[in-house]
């Protein structure tokens, strides 16, 4: 597991709601979010992905590219796109949807290989406006899968919320790559 080169560092935002992931990267991006076409070569075919793209400039440390996946994007091509360059996945869930835990399982399963190499953080939207599930419910599901990852209540229009998610994700990914049993 090598560290991705600076110009290829990527964080993927995903979730069942079309606009939520894009809104999240627009909240913290240093540049205007654009819909980019990205060519992905898989084993037997070449595909063109449409992803919303933002960027974080980090002065001497380069930059981190932020990608939001529209819900109909084929996950395997996204995984291919970020496989050697990803720094983690942010799943944005809507607690008001009928089956948010099922949504979470769908994305965890879809991005399983990518998460295994990096890490995942979960942002919960509309947590305080819905009594469906609490953070503990989501955490219990994640821990049962062996994932001790950040789950934060998130307003994707609030820069502080999105920044904290990104920070927690990066620290989780770093720990995944640096913490070893002796």
């Amino acid at each position: 597991m090598n560290a991705p080169a600076s110009r290829h560092r990527r964080i993927v935002f995903t979730g069942p709601d079309d606009s939520t992931a894009t809104c999240a990267i627009a909240t913290i991006s240093d540049a205007r979010v654009t819909r980019d076409s990205c060519d992905v070569a898989t084993v037997d075919t070449a595909l063109r992905l449409q992803l919303d793209h933002g960027v974080l400039h980090l002065q001497q440390a380069g930059e981190i590219h932020l990608y939001a996946t529209p819900p109909d994007t084929p996950v395997d091509t996204v995984t291919e796109f970020v496989q050697t360059s990803g720094m983690g996945l942010i799943v944005l869930l809507d607690n008001k949807r009928p089956y948010p835990l099922r949504d979470m399982h769908f994305y965890l399963h879809s991005f399983q290989a990518y998460i295994a190499e990096t890490s995942v953080a979960v942002g919960l939207c509309n947590l305080n406006t819905s009594d469906t599930y609490s953070i503990d419910d989501y955490q219990a599901e994640l821990i049962s899968l062996g994932l001790h990852v950040p789950v934060f209540e998130t307003d994707v229009t609030d820069k502080r919320d999105v920044v904290l998610l990104v920070e927690a994700l990066l620290l989780s990914t770093e720990v995944r790559k640096t913490l070893v049993h002796v």
């Binding site: 980090l58 002065q59 821990i143 062996g146 502080r160 927690a168 990066l170 913490l179 049993h181």
Partner: protein, 369 residues
């Protein structure tokens, strides 16, 4: 590639078995897999289990040819068995399993009391065997334990924090109202709400009331029912807060780099899950501490040695997390079965710091604006 070796796990609880199976998969890359005792040529035997002697005799009688690696906190009184001390060093366990596979001979049968342990210098206070050593005792890593004196502890009862906590815990299901010279609070645990006549921005000054001046002078009223429309009679502005958030911030402000009296610094403590850091204020370094701590229970001193962050920040985070039930003393067998992991150099260099410092700067600029 060598075929996987089946290993039976004897005398271990379900969570410990899950932890070891995880190690088999991730660290040993499938070299060892969990197997039923009848089909496994090698077994890991937990000599610290309940009725260890009886379990041992039964196992030996049924599976006399199985090679055994004994794990226990103290060396067992058995000759010629491979022993790995608990907390387990993953590499020491792997080496012992490989030796057991290579030996290919029956383990000795003994009539000695297997539950008795040798009188060695290994103890809670003595030096552990090399296999279980922590980061601080690795070659080339200086032991930089901080000087700990009584200043790191505080008595909760000397502060509003402890008195409010006591009032809530001793009146389960009821609301309590506390009135002091500079505050009025009504806490309703059943609805997870707290009402105060001051905003959270003033909490630090209320929390820091000096022992002897404010503490002990509060008037505590237990309420059968809290009128949520008028929770604080006579108060001007009423600020409503989620109870967890208020208690977190009150605990952090009161702790201010300390832990409550009696908190063990050298015993493993757990962090059940990441705190909801978008809704409770993370103390300094809290995210970095949580990222490591949540993976495995560790002592507060081990966290300090592993992360090299100011120990005061670890103490503040622990006190806040313990207050809302996210942290506590690790008591389960599985919590302390595996030795704490260590941190290797980051493959990202200073990238994570660059992101963190960039946003910290932005936060400060926002605050200034």
């Amino acid at each position: 590639m060598q075929s996987p070796v089946k290993v039976a796990l004897v005398g271990l609880r379900k969570r410990s078995i899950q932890a070891l199976v995880g190690i088999f998969k991730q660290r040993y890359q499938g070299r060892f897999v969990l197997g039923m005792p009848a089909a496994a040529p090698v077994a890991i035997f937990n000599m610290d289990c309940t009725n260890a002697g009886q379990v041992w005799r039964t196992f030996r009688r049924k599976h006399p040819d199985t090679r055994i690696v004994v794990i226990a906190r103290e060396p067992p009184l058995l000759d010629d068995v491979d022993y790995v001390p608990v907390p387990l060093s993953v590499s020491a366990l792997e080496a012992a399993l490989e030796r057991a596979v290579a030996a290919g001979k029956p383990a000795p049968r003994t009539r000695q009391s297997v539950t008795a342990t040798r009188h060695t210098k290994t103890s809670r206070t003595g030096k552990r065997p090399a296999a279980g050593r922590s980061l601080a005792t690795r070659p080339g890593v200086a032991n930089e334990r901080p000087a700990i004196n009584q200043d790191v502890y505080f008595q909760p009862g000397d502060y509003l924090f402890g008195r409010l906590r006591y009032a809530l815990s001793s009146n389960p299901g009821k609301a309590v109202r506390l009135r002091g010279s500079n505050f009025l609070i009504a806490a309703d645990a059943s609805h997870c709400k707290i009402f105060a006549n001051f905003p959270l921005s003033r909490l630090a000054s209320v929390a820091a009331s000096q022992p002897g001046s404010e503490a002990g002078n509060e008037e505590v009223t237990v309420l059968e029912h809290l009128d949520r429309k008028a929770p604080l009679p006579d108060a001007g502005d009423v600020h409503e807060h989620p109870l967890d958030r208020f208690m977190w911030e009150l605990a952090a402000a009161t702790a201010n780099g300390r832990v409550t009296e009696g908190t063990p610094l050298d015993a493993p403590v757990y962090l059940r899950r990441w705190p909801n850091f978008t809704r409770v204020a993370p103390p300094d370094d809290a995210m970095r501490i949580a990222a490591v701590w949540v993976q495995q229970p560790r002592s507060l001193l081990n966290l300090y040695e592993t992360l090299k962050v100011p120990i005061e920040n670890i103490f503040t985070l622990y006190t806040a997390a313990e207050t809302i039930g996210l942290a506590g003393l690790a008591r389960r067998e599985s919590d302390t079965l595996i030795a704490p992991s260590v941190v290797n150099p980051s493959p990202y260099g200073n990238l994570v710091n660059a992101v963190l410092s960039r946003f910290v700067r932005a936060d400060k600029a926002d605050a200034a604006a």
